[in-house]
């Protein structure tokens, strides 16, 4: 079964540093997403990406965050000037087509700890 691969699985960073979380979506999928889940809380939507541009973003996804598809396979989330409250599991997802009428495939996540 095709998988969404995320690296690293764990990342510890100091407050104020920049981190890049990496994802390899399923190869024939066209829509890509980032979600996050703070420990003990709900899974929250951050951003959706299609055709090399952001199609939708949440209020959480402010200027501190950016996404990029630097090549044909990777999809990255950059978090600048990390804060303690950015500590969370970050999940990448992809879908063949966009919209809630399609199932999304999520990766296993990157646990980000900001100290």
């Amino acid at each position: 079964e095709p998988e969404v691969t995320q690296t690293p699985s764990h990342q510890v960073t100091q407050m104020g540093q920049e981190v890049i979380l990496r994802c390899v979506p399923i190869s024939n999928h066209l829509y890509f997403y980032w979600y996050r889940q703070i420990l003990g809380q709900k899974v929250e939507f951050l951003v959706s990406f299609y055709n090399n541009e952001i199609s939708e973003k949440s209020e959480i996804f402010d200027d501190q965050f950016s996404v990029e598809r630097p090549d044909g396979s990777n999809f990255t989330l950059k978090i600048r000037s990390t804060k303690l409250e950015d500590s969370a599991m970050y999940f990448c997802a992809s879908s063949e087509l966009g919209g809630a009428d399609y199932g999304y495939t999520f990766g296993s996540g990157t646990r980000l700890t900001v100290v």
């Binding site: 997403y33 979600y35 939507f45 299609y50 919209g99 199932g103």
Partner: protein, 110 residues
């Protein structure tokens, strides 16, 4: 986005059938109903999706009554490995963001 309501938790035993009902009274005509499963420290996993009546796959069944104001996820003969959080989501073809609620924590005991 239609709001969903589902039980916070359910307990079951191995080999039993687990039915989780989700209420979505203000579901719109072009909304689909999707269920995801999440294990601790893992990403959500798509289980099943439907629009109306009944959908069945190798993992679960989804029952949707004619008024579509609720849906029931049925997990047949659960095992310990089915212990997880189950989310009911409602969204339309042009909804790119999935809205996860608190989900239902299903605990399967031996």
């Amino acid at each position: 986005l239609a709001k969903t309501t589902q039980p916070i938790s359910m307990d079951s035993y191995e080999g039993q059938e687990v039915n989780i009902t989700c209420s979505h009274n203000n579901i719109a005509t072009n909304d689909y109903i999707t269920w995801y499963q999440q294990f601790p420290s893992q990403g959500p996993r798509f289980i099943i999706q439907g629009y109306k009546t009944k959908v069945t796959n190798e993992v679960a069944s989804l029952f949707i009554p004619a008024d579509r104001k609720s849906s029931t996820l049925s997990l047949p003969r659960v095992s310990l490995s089915d212990t997880a959080v189950y989310y009911c989501l409602v969204g339309a073809v042009n909804d790119y963001k999935l809205s996860f609620g608190a989900g239902t924590t299903v605990t399967v005991r031996a």
